[in-house]
Symmetry: C2
Subunit: 194 residues, 2 copies
């Protein structure tokens, strides 16, 4: 996806520790025109899959997930990181352990996910993949079918994409980042040398 590569090259900021900041168009400020284009690409890649639900994780995934679901004319379900007093039905819960050994839980109300659902998981970024792995397990344990995962940016040198593909889950990444050099602020994309 050349448009997304261009935006990352123009506006992305690399920080030490393999951090890629895309705050100006994807995380903190959202370029809706770009998000629309990304959503169209996901909708095309997953067409004919009879997806009936898009699932995402708060917070950064919500915007793209909504744009995709709007095109597909299906609802979005947001996996929550906190259990509010309003979530008092039966819940699925998955504990996610991050690479820095922090732990948090993901919650989805059972009434919104289960047998008969064909689910597409959407997120902005795939790095270590712990949250997406946990959410994939939750979908499968619920009895729903996990059609695939779509991420805008995959960082191939971190473990997430391997975790997902090792589970035989279809993964569609709009751009794949093979390397980040914070000293020169250089991003190497998959396909750059084709």
């Amino acid at each position: 996806m050349q448009e997304l590569k261009n935006r990352i090259r123009e506006e992305g900021v690399i920080r030490q520790g393999n951090v890629l900041k895309v705050d100006s168009f994807l995380n903190h400020q959202l370029d809706m025109q770009l998000l629309h284009t990304l959503a169209e690409e996901f909708a095309t890649r997953f067409e004919n899959e009879e997806i009936n639900k898009v699932l995402t994780i708060e917070t950064s995934g919500i915007a793209i997930a909504c744009m995709v679901a709007d095109l597909m004319q299906v609802p979005v379900v947001i996996a929550r990181k906190t259990k509010t007093k309003n979530m008092n039905g039966e819940l699925y819960k998955k504990t996610v352990t991050t690479v820095t050994k922090d732990e948090y839980d993901l919650y989805v109300a059972k009434q919104y996910l289960g047998e008969g659902d064909k689910v597409l998981l959407i997120d902005d970024l795939l790095a270590h993949g712990k949250a997406l792995e946990g959410l994939s397990d939750m979908v499968m344990e619920s009895g729903a079918e996990l059609v695939g995962i779509g991420v805008a940016i995959e960082k191939s040198f971190q473990v997430g994409s391997k975790l997902i593909r090792d589970k035989d889950i279809r993964l569609e990444s709009l751009v794949i980042v093979d390397d980040l050099d914070w000293r020169s602020n250089k991003v190497v994309f998959r396909g750059d040398n084709d």
Copy 2:
């Protein structure tokens, strides 16, 4: 907005303490078709205002804000409740004190809000209004113009709408809830007796 009133009547659940749960279509699971309709109504009410930015608060406001911004062809800025390590530019910060005396901070990067901006604030629900009040102050202190606030559901018997209107801010609520009775699960909307 009759469509939203109907959905609240059909699917809304009232809990003791004036809590209105709209998890099945607005908060946890999102009905994108309904959100599209709500967004069109906001876009109509604020047309000709030359809005160039939609601002919202994570998490529940993001979906509607994105749909509105997509129609208006302007970017969204999401006020964050946590300062991540990636937010290392200059930030606006507002401390919000909730009615239960909890405190949290709202952050927006200075580069995405300031003089010359004409801002529309969008959120799903207006109850005590502490977060929207803080964010309104932030917009005004940034030098941007606050064109108005749009909320899907206003609970008129809580203090938020008074807080906002006392500041002479234009407030557009798609439905106004005048009373909630958890015993009978009855919602009284403004205009019901017109």
